[in-house]
């Protein structure tokens, strides 16, 4: 089966610009999560979708970040306008609705804001 796919793998943008990250979960996985690692620090939770609904968005840093999952398939994470502190690696993960399964992560998108 195909894994979790994220693109782009790298993105370099200027401060103030907009960037959209995309995540395609494993087919059939209702749970989709976004995580972020900034400047080699801890990997932090951003938000969680169950199908198309936001289950938990307590980790979203501010209103410059907007996540969507229309139709319950792929998800996008938009940063608008981007700031320098948004630089980091953004990971997406998906899982089945079963507590005994681990999460499958994508390779991440490395975002650099200059």
């Amino acid at each position: 089966e195909a894994g979790v796919t994220q693109f782009p793998s790298h993105s370099v943008i200027e401060k103030g610009q907009t960037v959209t990250l995309r995540c395609d979960p494993i087919s059939g996985h209702d749970n989709l999560y976004w995580y972020r690692r900034v400047m080699g620090k801890e990997i932090k939770f951003l938000l969680h979708f169950v199908k198309e609904s936001k289950q938990d968005e307590s980790g979203m840093p501010n209103n410059r970040f907007l996540a969507e999952r229309t139709g319950g398939t792929y998800s996008t994470l938009k940063v608008q306008p981007a700031e320098l502190e948004d630089s980091g690696v953004y990971f997406c993960a998906s899982s089945q609705v079963d507590r005994n399964y681990g999460y499958t992560f994508g390779s991440g998108t490395r975002l650099t804001v200059v």
């Binding site: 979790v4 990997i43 289950q55 938990d56 990971f91 992560f105 991440g108």
Partner: protein, 115 residues
């Protein structure tokens, strides 16, 4: 509330010697515990998981971990390190009885292997 503490930010061992990466957790609920590995420029890969069955869990690439409730630990071990094990390792906890709960990462341990 849940949290994970990885006691060492960096561990260096010689090739062929044992590996021990330490992890302690705190959880208000019965935890599921995982170890993930990230090789340079790669994604996060699941090494192994504990979800309530056997307390000694075997994973890929010869790694294993033992869940010790009395010590709230889930240390990762490998009998003999290989150069390809050089990577960053993350201990992760989640609420076992909530299929939709988010996972909490430890701060990571970077493992270096000396020839």
């Amino acid at each position: 509330a849940q949290s994970v503490t990885q006691l060492d930010s960096h561990v260096s061992v010689s090739e062929g010697t044992p590996v021990l990466l330490r992890c302690n957790y705190s959880s208000s609920y019965s935890p599921s515990l995982f170890w993930y590995v990230q090789h340079p420029n790669k994604g996060l890969q699941l090494l192994l998981k504990y979800t309530s069955a056997a307390t000694l869990v075997k994973g890929i690439n010869g790694f294993e971990a033992e869940f010790k409730k009395s010590e709230t630990s889930f240390h990762l071990t490998k009998p003999s390190a290989h150069m390809s094990d050089a990577a960053e390792y993350f201990c992760v906890v989640r609420n076992r009885y909530s299929s939709a709960s988010k996972i909490i990462f430890g701060s990571g341990t970077r493992l270096s292997i000396r020839p």
